[in-house]
Amino acid sequence: MNLHEYQGKELLKKFGVAIQEGIVADTVEEALNAYGKIKEQSGSKFAVVKAQIHAGGRGKGGGVKLAKSEEEIKEHANNILGMMLKTPQTPGGLEGEGKLVRKILIAEDAYDVFDECKEYYFSVLMDREKKCNVIVYSTEGGMDIEKVAEETPELVHKEYVDPTLGLMPFQVRKVVANLGLADNKVAGKEMAKFVSSLYKAFIGSDASLFEINPVTKRADNRVIAVDCKVSLDENALYRHKDLAELRDVTEEDPTEVEAQSFGLNFVNLDGNIGCMVNGAGLAMATMDIIKLSGGEPANFLDVGGTADAERVQNAFRIILRDEKVKAILINIFGGIVRCDRVAQGVVDAYKNMGDQIKVPIIVRLQGTNAEQAKELIDNSGLEVHSAIALQEAADIVKSVLQS
C-alpha cells in the first residue's frame, strides 16, 4: 500500500525523523490558510506547492512550484488542484492521460541558504537475495538514483542490517563517514539521528519501501527529509490499524478496488481476452498461453479456492466491464474443489446474467470430475466452449480470435 508524501512525512516525524514541515490542503482557501501558518513557522515568505499523487517525478510535470506570496500560492494552487498531472510514473508516462490531483501540500522552503545546502539520497527496503533489510544511500541526492548507480556505482552505498540484531551504532557511524560528515560534529550527529530514526520508522511501520530523495543538510546543519515515498507491507497492516486508514482508494484502479471487495485478486491489463483462473501461478500461465494463442490478456484474475456461482458471477461482471474484451477464458484446475461444482457455478452465473454476456466463453476444467463437468457445460444449452486439456483451450482461443 502506497502513502502520499504528506502521510509518509507524518509517519517519519512520529519516529523522530526531521522533515520539511508542511500542511495538506484540498482547496485554494485551505492552501492560503496553510501558507499563512507555514510562513509564520518558518519565518520565510517562500513556500512550495506540491501535488499529492501516488507517482514520482511530479516536478517534471509541473506538479511542484515555488511561491513567495499569497498571490503565487493562489495561482499555483488553482493550477495544480484538479489538474491531470503527467509524470514519467503515471499511467502512459508523460504522453499518457495523467492522474487527477485532489490534494496539495504547502511545504516550508527547506533550503535556508540554497548554495550551502547539500542533498543526499536514502532508501530502505528488503533485499530478497540477502534476505535482510538494506539502507541504500548516496551523496548524489535529488537525482535519478538508477542513473547514478549506472554511471557512478562507487557513489551508491549499501548497509545491510542483521535481522536479529537490528541497525548497530557502528553501521550508523559508517553511513555518516561515507557521506563525508564525520568531521562535521553538528551535521554528523544530525545525520546519525536521521539514519537511526529512519530505520526505526521502517521497522515500526512494517514498510516495504522508504525512498527519501532528497535528504537535505541545510546551512544550519539540520538534516531533513524533503520528499518521501513510502510503501507498506499489506500483510502487516493488521498490526497498524492507524496506517491502514491512510489508504487512498481514489489513487487505485476502481475496478481493482471493487474486485478486492469481492475477495478476487484482480489486475487490470490492456488486452482483449479476459481470464478467470484459480491460483496465482496458473493465472499467470493462462495469461501467457493467451498471448501464445495470438491474443493479449485483458486482466489477471485469481478467483481463489472456492469458485462458486456468486464468485464466478462477480468475476464475470468485472471482466465484462472492459469493452476491449473479445472472449473470456475460464481455467480451473479442480483439486479439492470438484470441477462439476465449478461448472455448475459457471452455468448458474451465466443464466443469472442473461444477455449481459455477449462474448464467447471458453471453459477449461481439469482435475476432479473433469469429464462430468464438461458434460454439464456441453448439455447446458449455453454458448460455452468447453475443454479439458490446456492446449485444447488454447486452440479454441486461437479459433475464436480468427473468426
Binding site: M126, A236, L269, M284, G367, A394
Partner: protein
Amino acid sequence: MSVLVNKDSKIIVQGFTGKEGSFHAEQMIAYGTNVVGGVTPGKGGQTHLDRPVFNTVAEAVEKAGADTSIIFVPPAFAADAVMEAAASGIKVIICITEGIPVQDMIKVKAFVDGKDCTLVGPNCPGVITADEAKVGIMPGFVFKKGKVGIVSKSGTLTYEAADQVVKAGLGITTAIGIGGDPIIGTTTKEAIELLMNDPETDGIVMIGEIGGNLEADAANWYKNQPNKKPIVGFIAGQTAPKGRTMGHAGAIVGGEDDTAEAKMRIMGECGIHVVSSPADIGNTMKKVLS
C-alpha cells in the same frame, strides 16, 4: 527413496483443530500419510481425528516422536509457529500459511538457518511423495507414482504440471511446492539439489515465476553439476506488467533480471529445457526422457 517426506515421516499438524488444519489433516490421513498428532495451544490432552493434541511442539516431539510438521496457523502467529518447530527439533517444517509479514519472515529465515532443519514455504501447497506421504493441500490423486520430481512456486500450476507428466505416462516421485513469497525457506536450487540426489527421480520439472533470482541461481548451479538429470522449466508471468504484484507477494518484476524473459534465457543457456507454453510441460519431459 524419496525426498523430504516419506511413509516413515512422523508428521504433526500445527493449527490442528482449526478449520483449515482439520480439513487438510483429514485429507492427508485419507491419503495414508503418517499423521501422529497435532498442536493447538490450550487444547493439549484432547483427541482430534483419533490423534492426540499437544499444547507445544516440544511435547509432540517428546511424546509422539514427531520429526515433520505442517503449519496451518493464521499469518499473525505463523512466524512464531515456524520458530517453535525449529527450536523443538522438528527436521522438516512445511508452512502453508499465506500472508505472513515480510519483516517476520526475515527473522524466521535467520533463525531457521542456524538450526538443523529444512523449512519449505510459506505460502506453498506443501510436499507430496507419491503413494507415501501427502504433507500439503494438493489433490493427492493427481500425483501418480513415477519418476519425475517437481519443484514449483505455485499451487494449481503444480497440479497442472503433475497431471501432464502423469498423462505422458511418467508419473511423479516427489513434488515440492516452495512457495511464492519474497522470503522462503527452501530455494529452487536447494529443492532441485534434493531431487538430483534422489535415485528414483529421472527428470525434474522446475516451475518458476517472475520476481527474485531463485531460478537464475538454480540454473547457474545446475550448469556446473557433473551428473545432471534433465530439467524441463517454465516461468509464469511472461505477460505480466512491471511493478505489479501478480497474486503471490513475490511475483513482481522489479528490474530487467527478474522478468520471465530474462529467467528463461538464463535457464536455456544453462542447459534447462525451457518451454514457453505451460501446455508443453508433460510432452517435453517425455521427449527429453526417451
